[in-house]
């Protein structure tokens, strides 16, 4: 009965051939589908990023060719570039005040809108609008005029007798950064919506239980709402922090980094040094430093998160 085995064998090999064909086809189809993403990733992210790692180790200006200098750019940045340190300080100052202000406003308003009252939907939409407009040139232009010496803000202060002279808030070394922080706080709409969605997830039973235990509204907030909201707070914190670390348009238009470099945030410095002044190698080094720094800050936040972020699935 040799034939039977041969027949079986040929069926098997036919099957294997089919499988192989099918396997190749499957793989090919998969790659065709992810191709658009893959091209974008390789061409616009991986390739330029890795190339710039090389350029950061060269002296390379917009008019010449790159020449290898080793770590010189990095050494110069850390030891001989006061503007680098200024821009780091300004950026941290901005992030440290703007992020909590935005998130606190977002949470406060989310709590207010939690209960449906007349016109809640309208108000929620109105409070959300600044969020979608905030990054636009238009809002920056408005902001600049609002806080200029002829602007409406001075009209209010002088009109109410709080100040006797008009000053340029965007041109004042101490206040300029605060006009930009205020603009950031003003755009609390989208974290507010995310908080609202988070609040909806909290089971009502927990509040009833807390009430039976005699907890007042304030205590309920601190022992039920806040702990259960920590995952959402954490999410908002990371998203907003990364975004605000690289703030550009608002500063570039409202203060241009001035006065006296008091609003020189990192992205503006990066742009000025690397592109306006044409130091491509040096600029690449600056970009890599902030990428590493941002990664470290994010990792640290993730590491500390298990100390204060409450995850429901922990008990399972």
């Amino acid at each position: 009965m040799n034939n039977k085995f041969e027949a079986l064998d040929s069926v098997r090999s036919l099957d294997a051939g089919m499988n192989k064909k099918k396997w190749i086809k499957e793989n090919l189809t998969g790659y065709v589908f992810i191709l658009p993403w893959l091209i974008g990733f390789l061409a616009f992210l991986a390739f330029p990023l890795l190339r710039s790692l090389y350029y950061s180790l060269t002296e390379y200006t917009i008019v010449g060719d790159p020449s290898w200098v080793g770590l010189r750019n990095y050494i110069e940045i850390f030891t001989d570039d006061p503007k680098f340190w200024t821009s780091l300080k300004v950026t941290f100052y901005y992030v440290v005040f703007a992020v909590p202000l935005r998130l606190a406003s977002a949470l406060a308003l989310a709590l207010v809108f939690r209960k449906a009252r007349p016109f809640t939907n309208f108000y929620r939409a109105a409070y959300y609008v600044p969020s979608i407009l905030g990054g636009s040139v238009a809002i920056s232009v408005i902001w600049r005029q609002l806080f200029s010496s002829q602007g409406a803000f001075n009209d209010f202060l002088v009109g109410m007798g709080i100040m006797s002279n008009r000053i340029s808030w965007i041109g004042h070394p101490d206040y300029a950064i605060w006009t930009i922080i205020l603009l950031a706080a003003w755009q609390f709409g989208s974290p507010m919506i995310i908080f609202l969605a988070g609040l909806k997830q909290i089971p009502k039973g927990l509040y009833e239980a807390a009430e039976i235990d005699g907890a007042g509204k304030v205590q309920q907030f601190f022992s039920v709402t806040l702990p259960l909201l920590t995952p959402v707070i954490f999410f908002n914190l990371i998203m907003q922090m990364v975004k605000m670390f690289m703030v550009f348009t608002q500063v570039y238009i409202i203060t241009e980094g001035g006065p006296l470099n008091r609003t020189l945030v990192y992205a503006v410095y990066l742009y000025r040094k690397g592109i306006s002044n044409g130091y491509l190698g040096y600029g690449s080094a600056l970009a890599w430093i902030i990428l590493v720094l941002l990664t470290i800050v994010t990792i640290v936040l993730f590491k500390t998160s298990n100390k204060w972020v409450y995850y429901e699935s922990e008990g399972e």
């Binding site: 589908f33 658009p36 636009s136 690289m246 990066l270 994010t298």
Partner: protein
């Protein structure tokens, strides 16, 4: 005085209207001030009042003329071209790739997916100089390619968002189509794409907003005034050292955010639900 429950509720409602409504006016003041300013006479345009002293619709005509012999018609056309191409490309290509990550199997799938997730948080600003060097070498500077292409090919954020959505579509639908002899491409276009409508709208609107407001990339790559989008034109038009007609400046500023506002009014639900679902900012 003892209040009944419903009286207390009424009082709370009134308090809510006064406080939240009052704060709402305060929040929207910069926008109202802009609209009012666009109607005021030029000398008065910066005053704090929300009541225009005149109804100067002429401001719009004067502003529309633009600068350097190029009117805002060109700038708006450019902006619609850039944002429109980026948006349509992005939602189709991102959903296409998202399908690949969820509904096909291939070697390295987990690896590439991990890479995509890892790059969600890489801020665009960091890539500007590296990309600038690259596009410069490719000779793309001065054209729309470096402005549109990176916004058109799937960015990690939208791809991931769509992956989440595709996962929610029952695989039974695919299987039924497969039995009917549908290829993977057929399944994508006939089954998945129509089911993705809500997320396509949400992603599309945000892609449009971000492209419309994009300032840095056109600033870097576009060199001739006739190619400028509204964002760059507005920045030049409103240069505080050169401007004389504030009313016209406010008028153009208002027009520049009008598409955003109109989209918001029509697609509010999609936007707010989208933010709640995905955390888009």
């Amino acid at each position: 005085m003892n209040l009944t429950f419903s009286q207390k509720e009424k009082l709370k409602n009134i308090l809510f209207q006064v406080l939240v409504g009052g704060f709402c006016i305060f929040m929207l003041y910069p926008l109202l001030w802009m609209v009012a300013g666009s109607l005021k006479s030029s000398g008065n345009a910066l005053s704090a009042t929300l009541w225009p002293d005149a109804m100067q619709f002429r401001n719009y005509l004067e502003g529309w003329r633009g600068f350097g012999g190029v009117s805002f018609l060109t700038f708006f056309r450019n902006s619609f071209f850039i944002s429109g191409t980026a948006t349509i490309g992005q939602i189709i290509l991102a959903s296409f790739s998202a399908f690949g990550f969820t509904r096909t199997r291939f070697i390295g799938q987990k690896f590439w997916f991990a890479i995509m997730i890892a790059t969600v948080l890489v801020p665009g600003q960091i890539l500007r100089i590296p990309q600038y060097i690259m596009f410069n070498q490719w000779g793309w500077v001065g054209s729309y390619l470096p402005v549109i292409l990176p916004q058109m090919l799937p960015v990690p954020f939208f791809t991931f968002l769509m992956v989440q959505f595709v996962r929610g579509i029952p695989t039974e639908l695919d299987e039924a189509a497969e039995i009917d002899g549908c290829s993977k491409f057929g399944i994508f276009f006939k089954i998945i794409l129509p089911n993705l409508k809500p997320v396509l709208v949400t992603a599309g609107i945000f892609r449009f907003y971000w492209s419309w407001n994009d300032f840095m990339t056109p600033l870097l790559y576009l060199q001739s005034v006739t190619k400028y989008p509204v964002s760059i034109a507005l920045k030049m038009f409103s240069d505080p050292n050169a401007i004389t007609n504030w009313g016209a400046m406010f008028a153009m500023t208002f027009l520049s955010i009008l598409p955003t506002i109109i989209l918001f009014i029509f697609f509010q639900r999609y936007l707010i639900d989208g933010v709640a679902f995905s955390g888009i900012d």
